[in-house]
């Protein structure tokens, strides 16, 4: 394993600001493919860091015992936004900047812009395939899933199916994606899978376990690893959902959301999944029901909700007729 400092800036306080990349080169000759993993663009998302740890640990072991297994090259940037990760904040703390809204041709010269540009350019130059790992924010919990913008689905779906996440969600384009790492790399024809899993500031070991196995299988499928360790299990194929195959429940009232179901549970249409309460008056404002039958793959974690707040998403068993 080769450790490289992607970017370094001296700081006024003393300790420099460094972004580190770990590389596992091909054992011999030109790599069959170069796969990069990046996590921690948002500093309150730790699931990806744990996934990177699992990958680095496993790949180091393979390199020590069977280096010839490496037919391709693996790059891992576990902590892409160290100042935010150290503070546990989504945004770059000193500037309040979102690194995943500065990717692509972004003007400016602030330190977060420079860092985003450097990471983007490095991934662009050194990758044939990228996996960008995110957790949800502090408000929602997500089953392990890969999200794909519709226009990239033809190329990305076959790759996503190899990762054995619970869900592959193909969704429409929106303006908010235009400045993200995933969108801009995909626009440059570097296939990039975006993972969402778990919740902010927490680690769900079981989710990361599944993702770790899925990522190892992806590396094997792409020929980067000639074989897999025997303890990597085979897993079920993800459920693929298209835009009309996802239904969401939102709060109709502002109050305290108390959930009555668990993430990953199958729910029936109109089944009660929770209540919105007025704790000051001791009144139930609303019974929240499932918007359809299927797999509950997003669930509200933060109980304080305004009317309109997203409470749950269900991957429908059957898409509604147009």
């Amino acid at each position: 394993m080769k450790t490289q400092t992607l970017l370094s800036r001296a700081s006024p306080l003393g300790a420099p600001l460094n972004i580190v990349k770990q590389t596992f080169p091909a054992h011999r000759g030109k790599p069959v493919q170069r796969v990069s993993f990046v996590s921690g663009l948002h500093g309150d998302e730790f699931e990806g860091l744990y996934l990177c740890h699992r990958l680095i640990q496993a790949l180091r072991q393979i390199q020590e015992i069977q280096p010839e297994v490496f037919k391709g090259e693996v790059h891992i940037v576990p902590a892409a936004n160290p100042p935010a990760l150290n503070q546990g904040t989504r945004l770059w703390p000193f500037y309040g900047s979102d690194m995943n809204r500065m990717m692509g041709p972004h003007p400016g010269a602030s330190i977060p812009v420079q860092m985003s540009r450097e990471i983007f350019n490095n991934l662009k130059e050194s990758s044939d395939l990228v996996v960008d790992v995110h957790a949800s924010n502090l408000h929602l919990k997500e089953l392990p899933q890969i999200r794909i913008i519709e226009e990239f689905s033809e190329e990305l779906l076959p790759l996503a199916l190899q990762t054995h996440t619970d869900i592959v969600w193909i969704h429409p384009m929106a303006g908010v994606f235009e400045s993200t790492l995933g969108y801009n790399l995909n626009k440059l024809n570097i296939p990039t899978l975006v993972i969402e899993t778990g919740t902010g500031l927490r680690i769900e070991p079981d989710f990361v376990d599944r993702l770790f196995h899925g990522m190892m299988r992806l590396l094997h499928h792409q020929g980067v690893l000639a074989s897999l360790p025997s303890d990597i299990p085979s897993m079920p194929t993800p459920q693929v959902v298209y835009p009309r195959g996802v239904a969401q429940a939102s709060a109709k009232h502002s109050g305290l959301f108390v959930c009555q179901v668990s993430l990953g549970q199958r729910v029936g249409e109109d089944e009660v999944i929770g209540q919105v309460l007025d704790p000051v008056r001791g009144v139930v404002l609303e019974e929240v029901t499932a918007p359809g039958s299927g797999l509950l793959f997003t669930l509200r974690e933060q109980p304080a909700v305004h009317s309109g707040t997203l409470l749950a998403r269900v991957a429908l068993d059957r898409e509604p007729k147009p």
Binding site: R9, L17, R101, H106, G108, Q114, S254, H306, G308
Partner: protein, 322 residues
């Protein structure tokens, strides 16, 4: 006059109410003025309040000689929850309002608020956004223009600020209010002066005077004693910008050069060691130019942006001919 545009119950307290002020007959020229997109931009909030008082006085006849001819709307506060804390963003969702437009009719609170602003301003001919420099920077008073065609540059001139500057295109620009207005057919102008968390009375006077002059020049307001005064503006396109970066990390001591033209090689400030006070570096202007932005916060990393110059050789004057 003062009109409620949004009333949303909060989970545990009083409702969140957003207001706009509106004057004048409908059907003619119309102008929307927005401040308070971030919760720490005081100059805009103060200008909006002073302007509202002025227009109330015009309407009630206290300001003699003036008459309101078009529709004028002012939205003093957009990011209400951020203003409650004095931070640029609402910590609850870590969302920059000016990266959330056009929002959605039914959805998360910040998205709903943004969508409400869009709906209320959609029929306007002109839009003015009151801003300051970014966090840790002070802006000399200037106008930012999106797609600065000749008509827009001429319109901007009557706003009375000495400098016009093109906003560089970027993937995230589409999420800003100004770009959304541009796409909706409004002429958007961002007036930036001063720094966050600080009120600058002289800049407030300048902005107030400029906006009143603009309203008179565009027929939104008439005055029977004198014609609107002609103004002069130097315009700089996006390629004119010259970032000034430090070489050393430390404490930046700026020279009083903001809002002035500096020669190539002029001293803009110096970087001193945080612990021992020794001068590590003198920062000089890499080119001749107008200093439009200067660093306010002294702590700087290596390669940190401490100023923006607008290259004099790229400037084009817009004189009040015709």
């Amino acid at each position: 006059m003062k009109e409620e545009i949004l009333n949303i119950p909060t989970p545990f307290g009083e409702p969140l109410i957003l207001y706009k002020n509106q004057w004048g007959p409908e059907g003619g020229e119309s102008l929307s003025i927005v401040s308070g997109l971030q919760g720490d931009r005081l100059n805009g909030l103060m200008v909006a309040s002073r302007l509202s008082r002025f227009l109330n006085d015009v309407e009630s006849g206290k300001e003699t000689g003036y008459q309101i001819r078009g529709t004028i709307q002012i939205f003093p506060v957009v990011n209400y929850k951020a203003w409650e804390t004095g931070n640029p963003i609402w910590n609850f969702d870590s969302q920059d309002v000016d990266l959330t437009f056009p929002g959605t009719g039914v959805g998360e609170l910040t998205e709903t608020i943004c969508n409400m602003v869009i709906r209320h301003t959609a029929e306007s001919d002109y839009g003015i956004i009151l801003q300051t420099g970014e966090r840790h920077y002070e802006d000399a008073p200037h106008i930012k223009l999106i797609d600065p065609n000749r008509k827009r540059r001429n319109l901007a001139r009557s706003l009375g600020l000495p400098i016009g500057r093109e906003v560089a295109e970027s993937p995230s620009l589409v999420l800003s209010l100004a770009k959304q207005w541009d796409q909706m057919g409004l002429h958007p102008f961002i007036l930036s002066a001063g720094k966050p968390q600080s009120y600058h009375p002289q800049y407030s006077d300048l902005l107030l005077d400029g906006i009143i002059n603009f309203m008179r020049a565009e027929g939104l307001l008439s005055y029977n004693r004198e014609k609107p005064s002609p103004r002069k503006m130097a315009f700089f396109d996006a390629h004119s910008e010259c970032p000034v970066l430090t070489r050393q990390a430390g404490l930046f001591y700026p020279e009083p050069v903001n809002g002035t033209v500096v020669e190539k090689g002029s001293k803009l400030g110096e970087v001193r060691d945080l612990y021992e006070g020794a001068v590590l570096e003198e920062v000089h202007a890499p080119e001749e130019g107008y200093v439009v932005t200067l660093r306010e916060h002294p702590m700087v990393h290596e390669n940190e942006l401490v100023g923006i110059l607008l290259r004099e050789k790229n400037q084009r004057w817009f004189w009040p001919f015709g």
